[in-house]
Structures are given as C-alpha cells and as structure tokens.
Symmetry: C2
Subunit: 313 residues, 2 copies
C-alpha cells in the first residue's frame, strides 16, 4: 500500500440518480484526509466508508455549483457534533466562503475545531498548501462558471537507508539524514562509500490532479503535465459530444486525450451524466485514446495511487 | 386507502447514524405532496420512495437546526433541473428564508417554478395555508431555539350521495351539492325525503400534527387537542430523561403523555438519538402511557392516516 489513496464518495453529475451521489472524493495521505468537492451526502458517505471526521484537515471546493458543495454545511456541523479538533481549512471561491461562513454562524455558532476559509483565485495557478514534503496547487479550469482544478504533489522522498550497511561502515547517526538525501559517506580514513551501497531507491513521489468540471482544454493538460494519476470529468460519451461542448463539460474520449497529452500514468473518470447506465462504455471510449490504466470511478471505491489497485467497489 | 398518507423520509436526530436520516416527512393528500422538515438527503429519499418532485407544493421547516433544513438547497435545485412547474412555498423562519433565498440566487439563478417564501411566526398560532377543504396552522413549540409545530386539518367533508336513491326520488342535479352538505330533499308534492335516505356518512376529516423539536409541554397538547394522528419527537428514553430536559427534547414516555392529553387517536414517534439501536424500547415506553396506536417511525415507511395501515418499512 502506497502513501496516497483516493476514495470515491460520489461521481455523479448535477442531476442526481439512484446510482450515483454528487461529486465528492477524499484523498488520504499518511492518515490525513483531504476532501475534494463536497456534494450532498458527503458526511454519510464518509461514515459508510469509515473515513474519520477528525482526520479531515482540508476541503477543496472546485466551484459553486450545488452538486459540488451542498454537503458542506452538514459535514462541518456534524464534525462539530463529533467534537473534531485541530484546524479544518476550506479552500473555496469568495462568494462560497461568504455564504457558507454565514450558514455556519447561523446554524452552528462556535465549533469545536478551528475553521478557516482560504479564498481561491480561479484565474491563476497558485500553491495553496505548501509543506516540507507535499504541495497542493489550484489552477483554472474552463466551465460555465469560475472553476478550479487541484494538483496534489508529493516532493521527492528520501532514499531508504540500509541499516546493516550503515552500521558496517560506522555511519554516525547525525550523518544519516544527508545519506538518505543522496550524499556519499567519507570514512575517517578518507575512503568514500558511494551512496548506492548505503541506500536503496526512494519510494516514488506520487501526484494526483483533479479536473472537474471543465471543457477539455490543452491548457489543462499542460498544467498537469507528468502527473501520475489524473481525475478528469467525463460527463458524456461520444454520442453527446455537442452537448458536452455546449455545457462546458467533457466527453470520456476527451478525458482520455487530456490524459495522453499530459503523459499521465493513470486516468480516473467520473461526473457521469444521468443518461449513462453503464460507465463501461465511457471507460472504453477513454481507453481508446489513452494507453495507461483507465478507471471508471464508482461510489465506495478506493484506489491505491501507487500501484493502481482498486478496492471496495 | 384514505386521502392522507404520511411518508417518513428521515427520523433521526442531529448526530447522523448509518440507521437514520435527519428529519424529513412528506404528507400526501389527494396527490399533492407537502414536505415537513428537509434534512440532508431529502431529495434522494424522495426519489427512492418514488415521490415526484413536481407534486411538491409546500415545504414546512420547523426550525433552523441543520438536521431539519440542510436538504433544502439540494432539493430546490434538483426540482429546477427536473423543470418542475407551479408554485412551491417554503414556510420558514425569517433568517432561514434570507439565507436559503441567497443560496438559491447564488447557485441556481432563475428556477423553472415559482418559489415563494412564507415567513413563520414562532410566537403565535396562525393559519398559514387556508383552502376550501383543508388548513395548515403553525404553532409554537418549546425548544432551545425558535421552533414551530404544524397542524394539518381537513375540513368536514360532504356526505356521499346515494345515486340510485337520488334518481329514484328525482333529485335534480343542481340540488345534489346541498344534499351532500346535509340538506333534506323536498319533492314537488311537498313530501320531505330526509337526508339520511339519500346519502351515507362522509369520510372522516383527517388531521395530523407535527411536533418536533420540543420539550413535552401541556400547551402543545392543548393546541393539538382532538388531533387524529400526532407526530411527537421522542429523542430519548426514560434512561435519559434529564438529558431530554436539558436539551429541550422529549422522552418517548412524554410523547405518549402528550398524545393522551391531546386525546389523539394515534401517535407516531421519531427524532431518535443515536444512542438507541432499537426503537421498540422507545415505542413501548410511549405505549405504556397512551392507549391508542403507537408507531415508531422508520425511513421508507408510509402510514395511511385513515386506518393506520403501515407499508414499506
């Protein structure tokens, strides 16, 4: 199991169906949860998927359509009822922050955790979370209204120190961190022990991009270039390509094209129109133009972003 | 099947559980739907229970706690996506109308139906829907925040005309309505045909009262006196009577006492705390002090308010 897993809580589009919830995903990284979009029912799905409220630290809302954020007041209230602690940051467009902050005031008053609102800029690429080992960037998508994509990236990870070898060569503990970062070790007698005798390869730094809702756009492929796993909306199939264009959405084939252009390793599709009862058709259309792994998202699914293993759907 | 049926879409309380949705009911009368409270997930439950969006004409929101109204933006948006027509009136406290109207503006813009906001007065008993054959009144409940109960009442119904007898005595069509209303028929020769030879008894006028959330209060029993079916919250059992008082809620036994005081024919309980895994305990506590029918509400249940038949749960 790798460090990053993607949980699918909802992958339907605006018109709800008995088969799909509105948009919601949870990215899990080393036990921390980050939610991406928060359609109605997000809190129930978290419970059902056994994702713990008090591990949720960030909520990223791509845009202000109800199927991407109407679960927010309920989730934030329930977290307060569960006496979740720490800081929860909601990344959202300004009008959304104003409205939902007012709702929280009206309905909850003071909450058990620290609730912060981070205002997104839908016009520019911007780092919105910056940590030693991890960043999140927001970037423009192209929908009928202002809309942001999100790019989650681990920074390069340290190599694994081979404990036996380090002991054999007498590497003191205070030098080990720089060895992990790639340095050779110079013994007291001047002998140089090359790094690759003391360490083995680092785990790959994983990355994940979330692109919904949007028209298929080369500019988006450019921003997410080299991403490991790309989630791209695929509201329609080839049969509704004109409708996709008109409504600022993408077809599954276009999602595949963007994944190919970006050189992604893996594509996850979702945000299905209610028209489709079988997402396998959409998956095949995407796979016809993209050679990597293509996964049709489904509620309850968990994807290991390292090896692409799928569980629970 | 009588003219009024009660659908239970949610009967849990503030802390959501896997077993119950937050508060939501739909009262169906002659094909028209009236929703009472609208917790998150109301739109999904409507779909699951095959209650059609475009039959919904009124939504009554008892108070501004999230578990009673966070389903509203999603439901109203989805109704617009389904191009529901006609007028939909939301009866709600002023702060709620302000907030939700602003949300609708932000998220939906113009909708396919006419959306009206009727401001409730939580301090006084007041008729809020008045029709030829039916009224709805709001009245004060006693909770931690301003809260309204709702009383739905059919007016006395016309008697059933016995067609064969009316024809036999030559009752002209233009006289038949007054015969239905109870008049005798005077034949051209002066002979009086008493009404009970021309008609049979009217269907009973049904009534339903919704009391949630509230402390048990004699004043409430007084307002709903003589009601046919009473829904009264029963958040706790005897084991948590002190907590009920502290939080402005009722125990199941108190719900039974109010039903008995009001002389109701039938009691429906709900708004269960997450503490209870078996509502049968609560039902029994209510039934120990109330001799009429006691029903423990459950999601998916439909209750015929005429004969008390239960389906679907």
């Amino acid at each position: 199991m790798s460090d990053m897993r993607l949980h699918i809580l909802g992958c339907g589009s605006a018109v709800p169906t008995p088969r799909h919830n509105p948009s919601c995903q949870v990215l899990e990284r080393r036990g921390e949860l980050m939610m991406i979009d928060c359609g109605e029912g997000a809190q129930s799905m978290m419970r059902r998927m056994r994702l713990r409220y008090n591990r949720l630290r960030h909520i990223f809302i791509s845009h202000l359509h109800g199927d991407h954020c109407f679960g927010l007041p309920g989730l934030l209230s329930t977290m307060a009822l569960h006496e979740a602690g720490g800081t929860v940051t909601v990344h959202i467009l300004r009008e959304g922050a104003d409205l939902f902050a007012r709702m929280m005031e009206q309905f909850c008053g003071p909450v058990s955790y620290r609730l912060e609102w981070d205002i997104l800029d839908p016009a520019e690429r911007r780092v919105i979370v910056d940590r030693d080992d991890f960043t999140v960037e927001s970037f423009p998508l192209y929908h009928r209204v202002a809309c942001c994509g999100f790019l989650f990236r681990e920074k390069a990870k340290p190599r694994h120190l081979l404990g036996d070898m380090a002991n054999f060569y007498g590497v003191p503990h205070y030098r080990r961190q720089e060895i992990r970062m790639g340095a050779d070790f110079v013994m007291p007698d001047g002998t140089v022990i090359p790094n690759d005798r003391l360490t083995r390869e680092a785990d790959p730094a994983l990355s994940y991009a979330y692109c919904s809702d949007t028209m298929a756009a080369k500019r988006v492929a450019k921003v997410v270039e080299g991403v490991d796993t790309l989630y791209h909306e695929a509201t329609y199939g080839d049969d509704n390509a004109a409708l996709a264009r008109k409504r600022g959405h993408s077809t599954a084939r276009q999602a595949g094209e963007i994944a190919a252009m970006a050189g992604a390793r893996r594509l996850v599709i979702g945000h299905y129109s209610k028209r489709y009862n079988d997402e396998e058709q959409l998956r095949r259309e995407a796979a016809s133009v993209f050679a990597g792994q293509v996964i049709a998202a489904n509620e309850g699914m968990t994807i290991d972003l390292g090896n692409g293993d799928i569980a629970g759907a």
